[in-house]
Subunit: 714 residues, 2 copies
């Protein structure tokens, strides 16, 4: 640590943004990062002597604080195999460097033993705006740079993290050895990743580390090039709250006894009127206190001049006043000791009014008031009959908590929920996230007994690490679905290293959310559908999925969908195959899919579904129904629901999903099945399997399949 500290301090004192190669080597040595034998030559004679001592072939590179891009400056020569070549190279490198950057101070030329054995890989770290220090691993070389086959973890990474990275790239097979080539030393490579990640985590001023290439072989690893970039400035820290503080204030937000509405109004069409009406009409059983200096009474409730006059200790102050009046009212809310301010008004950062937003954050931090918003539709807490929004009420209680950063997406959540009858525990708008954000909400919903599934739309994370911590605490108990918007935004990050160039925002989010055990919804429809369907399904207890289908064509498409969703068709053992065959026509195909063939009566569906639920080696069922006059849709739906319920009574719970191919009657059958614990969709083979895949992804992350922890979810 002391060596590294000294190197960094000197470089920062000199105002440099990068370490020189010898400095990089010193840092590497201090952290046990193996580098090739090398030395610094100030003259051609010294270079020859060095090369002779460390052994040919050697590479030579200019060492100059003023020349960060050595290749561009003509400052790199490789594969030098004789004293004569080394001598010539020294002269050439120095003269080119002088020509390239006349003012740069040239410290000499680094002479390095060339290692070129094994597979080229890249190990590095960057400082991510959402997640802070993260470590990257990928195959090195030009080809991989083009294919961007890299994976990321939070730094410092554990040994397990590092090992999962070796398996986390598309070209993972290469590391295990292909076409008879030996695999790399995985312990050594994982150890290197861990040490590099610690280095970055230990020193905030290290912006990026780039070991590229690292040569990894069966006999070890060697970082042929070490590049370290510095950052002088550390980001401003917000006030933070402990988990207990978060649970306390969120508890009062989501289960308030008293709500005050600042800017409550009698005038229809005003937000302050809609909020009051929704609170009252929604049946909120607690106190509702309107605040409006110009009224005595609003919707039959006594109105107060100021929140300071409101009786008791309100848990929530809902703001329905223009942005410019918010700071003064918020001061009063702070003085009153109200723990939560729900800021519906827009006119803050989203319209360019950053200073105004900073101001309310400062007030809130001073008083310890938590802010929801600003620029939101409000929030619903259905189990409290609380509808603190200006939108239409929603009162279907159920197990799903949904949040959205955007108001538009919030309205889509509301419409979808109403259309499908999805039961929700809460819908929360986050808007500008000036204070409360996804990690606070997730911390609460993780503990909330009414919530069995959390689905969140977000465009960014203010504090990715806090979110990961909240997700890790929640995932073992309930699934967390995230729709991360802005996936494909061109990463505008200025990249100073290969690692930096490879760390596109979305790649980082994708890897780190996955590691946190979060289910990432590919789109809005999937987020909504997962939210609706995941709580319907019991958790699977193992990987064996069996497809039972009346239509061979559906069986093929369902199998496609299973593979697409990372699920595996169980290999049916002979005795089980025999058992299925007993129920299906001789030309039907057992195996998996079990093709019972079209035109079969209800008894065939029932017998095979029973067998699927009964046999303990089978863990999940995918049903492909084909509409025929022999087994009409509702007959299929009722028999399936009945059999599933019967097994549930007996304590046998397995996820069952269904794809219904048929005329419009299948729509009613799907609704019936959904209400009876079977996730069913008409006219699609993809959606039921996608939901099952999401349930499996969660079960794996939650460690329910015995095949890994949250850290190893794929």
């Amino acid at each position: 640590m002391r060596t590294v500290r000294a190197v960094l301090d000197r470089a920062l004192a000199e105002g440099r943004a990068a370490l020189t190669a010898p400095e990089g080597k010193a840092v590497a040595d201090a952290y046990g990062i193996p580098t090739p034998a090398e030395g610094l030559a100030e003259t051609a004679d010294e270079a020859v002597a060095l090369a002779t001592r460390i052994g040919f072939p050697v590479a030579m590179k200019i060492v100059s604080p003023g020349i960060p891009h050595k290749t561009e400056a003509g400052g790199v020569r490789i594969s030098l195999t004789s004293a004569a070549e080394v001598r010539g190279a020294f002269t050439a490198i120095v003269s080119r460097a002088r020509a390239y950057a006349p003012d740069a101070r040239i410290l000499g030329v680094q002479v390095q033993r060339m290692v070129a054995e094994g597979t080229e890989v890249l190990v590095g770290t960057v400082t991510d705006p959402a997640f802070g220090k993260i470590v990257a691993f990928g195959l090195g070389g030009v080809l991989v740079e083009v294919l961007k086959d890299v994976t990321f973890r939070l730094a410092p990474a554990t040994e397990d993290d590092a090992r999962s990275m070796l398996d986390g790239i598309r070209a993972a097979e290469i590391l295990r050895g292909v076409r008879g080539a030996p695999g790399v030393d995985r312990d050594a490579l994982a150890g290197l990743i861990v040490r590099v990640s610690r280095l970055a985590a230990d020193f905030p001023e290290i912006g990026e580390v780039d070991l590229n290439p690292v040569f990894a072989s069966a006999s070890g690893v060697m970082a042929a090039d070490v590049r370290i970039l510095l950052v002088a400035q550390q980001p401003h820290r917000r006030r933070t709250y402990t988990r207990e503080e978060i649970l306390a204030s969120m508890g009062r937000l989501m289960r308030p006894a008293s709500v005050t509405v600042i800017g409550a109004s009698d005038a229809p069409g005003k937000i302050g009127n809609s909020v009051m009406r929704n609170l009252i009409d929604g049946g909120f059983p607690g106190e509702i206190h309107p605040v409006n200096p110009k009224a005595d009474d609003i919707l039959g409730r006594k109105a107060y001049q100021s929140v300071l006059d409101v009786p008791g200790e309100p848990d929530v102050a809902v703001f329905a006043i223009p942005a410019r009046f918010v700071p003064a009212a918020l001061e009063e809310v702070g003085r009153k000791g109200v723990p939560n301010a729900v800021l519906i008004p827009s006119g803050f950062a989203e319209t360019g009014e950053h200073a105004l937003q900073e101001r309310i954050v400062e007030i809130a931090e001073r008083y310890g008031v938590r802010l929801l918003g600003p620029n939101i539709y409000g929030y619903y807490s259905t189990w409290q009959d609380l509808c603190a929004t200006f939108c239409t009420p929603y009162d279907v209680r159920g197990p799903v908590a949904l949040t959205s950063q955007s108001g538009g997406i919030g309205m889509a959540i509301l419409g979808f929920a109403r259309s499908t009858g999805t039961g929700v525990s809460a819908i929360v708008g986050l808007g500008n996230k000036s204070d409360l954000d996804e990690d606070d909400l997730l911390t609460w919903f993780g503990e909330d007994p009414h919530t069995a599934c959390v689905a969140m739309h977000l465009e960014d994370l203010k504090d990715g690490r806090a979110f990961v911590a909240a997700a890790r605490a929640t995932v073992p108990k309930k699934p967390v679905v995230v729709l991360k918007a802005g996936r494909t935004a061109a990463g505008a990050r200025a990249a100073g290293s290969h690692t930096g160039a490879l760390a596109g925002d979305d790649a980082v989010y994708d890897d780190i959310l996955r590691q946190a055990g979060v289910i990432r919804a590919p789109g809005l429809s999937e987020m909504l559908e997962y939210a609706r369907a995941l709580p319907v399904l019991p958790a699977p207890r193992g990987d064996n999925v069996v497809v039972i289908t009346g239509a061979g064509g559906s069986g093929v498409l369902l199998s496609d969908a299973l593979v697409d969703n990372g699920l595996s068709l169980m290999e049916i053992p002979p005795d089980l195959d025999e058992a299925f065959r007993a129920f299906i026509p001789p030309f039907g195909a057992a195996g998996n899919p079990v093709d019972i063939t079209g035109g079969e009566p209800p008894s065939t569906y029932e017998a095979t579904i029973r067998l699927g639920l009964e046999d303990p080696r089978i863990h999940a069922l995918v049903l492909g129904y084909w509409h025929t006059i022999v087994t009409p849709p509702m007959v299929f739906a009722e028999l399936t629901a009945r059999v599933v319920a019967e097994f549930r009574e007996r304590g046998i719970e397995k996820p069952v999903v269904a794809s219904l191919a048929g005329d419009v009657e299948v729509e009613e059958a799907c609704r019936y099945l959904f209400e009876h614990g079977v996730v069913a969709y008409p006219y699609t083979t993809e959606r039921p399997v996608a939901v099952l895949g999401a349930k499996y992804a969660w079960a794996r992350a939650a460690g329910l399949l015995g095949t890994g922890t949250a850290g190893e979810a794929d």
Copy 2:
């Protein structure tokens, strides 16, 4: 040609499945495929002399017809740089080969100049079960083998095909040169691909060609290893029909004047009864003649003993009799000269009765009767009021022809169409495809004036080349959507070469269907939705897509979806930006997406949509609607429909799609918009953009965007 013929004949005469390296070189020479200098040495002395003449370093390889896997046999040595090494290698190779395969005839050792300059690529050909000879191109080396970054075209490939292959791999950038490395000689590489593909196409007995690695550099290409595998047997050819014959028989199938039903029945529940009822109740205006030896009269129509007794010249015979009676009845149909037999019964190849199916095919080929099926639900031709199926009738006439290989998928088509009110021109079941298949149907639908879009579910293609030809003829006129099921089936192909191992079924289908200009639906839902929506949209005339959104959050998700679907957000020029800004609040974001912000009145939506339609630089609009009380859903829907119609009147037609975020009223608004030419969906940002993406994919393939032909569609 003569050289190659002689080499192949000799090898086949000797019963060999592979050419030796010298034979491979002879073939390569004949087709202008550059290979390194080399020769065959029978003794160690000859090897040394050869190596000295052609220059070091050399590679040496055993030459023995009995040793196809040279490396396994210890028969390969590389990077030999001296006479002594060559001498030692000769001895070692020969003795190892003797030990490995004592009975193999050893012809000597090939001594080859080693070329290792440039990028390693792979060029090869395989014989695909659906498409016949296809040519493959990819980067070579171990890494690419792991990543399977390969692309395929039909052989022989044109120069344009070959060039599109260079751009068709994920690592295409490498070939253009990265990090200062020079690009490869694209003319030489494309030329090599063309010549290899011609070689394979010229000689049916060449099963696989594998040039791996080929070294491609700025100065040319060199195939370092040539491997050619032979096939002795050619597949059995079916009777083929000319395009005119297909159009003639399909015309009579789809627009019949007279239909006869073999196995017509009075008994409800029987297929022969359902078919009769559907024909009659569907309102088919032509003649309907039941055939049933046991009845005089069926559903009020005179019944005949045999089809031979039916008056006139029926265009179609629908079979509703058990499989075992089909051959005899089909003989009569042939003798009667009926051109089409629609074989509803199952009990043929799908139940293992291959011989029975062969028998009916033989009868049909003898008479020139075209067979639809067997094992199908029948078919609908709505513009003829023809419902020749045992399913429920469907009579919503419209522009989409749908076909399915599977009956279950056919029922899903019917249900989806009825549920969404999709207008169809035909729904056709293909079942076992004993004769008529997708290319016949596509040939017809391509010409059918009632059909504006064709959507096909298929699990395989009997004749991939005929399908590609039919697709190429159709795509310039109307979109062809294909759902290829069985995508992820583990390719059970026995691979004798690298190219073979890389040619998984789905990769080949994907590349070749795309090249044919077909839109590949990723799943059943998409196939159905594209079929419904594509005819609603006019074709785009250029690539500039603009998003106009009331919800910033939708704008982000719509942008994600655009990138996912290969579409590009137009870069808005300053004057246009200025023009949009005139309509939106100062804090709204112009640029693209144009964020008009929430809470805007209908006039803001209208003004910006008008501008989007008016400005000729904009080619397509994606609307993101946010439900507010200021602009309720139906107000948005009506204004959008009105403006779009007004511009259409003026001859300005651009595709407009919309995502509606809001409460359940948005569902009605979406239906209204759909009926008025705007493709709109609630609660999803992905689906409207996916449909637009499919329309663009078609427009590009059809050459409407001026940026390519069907052959260059991506």
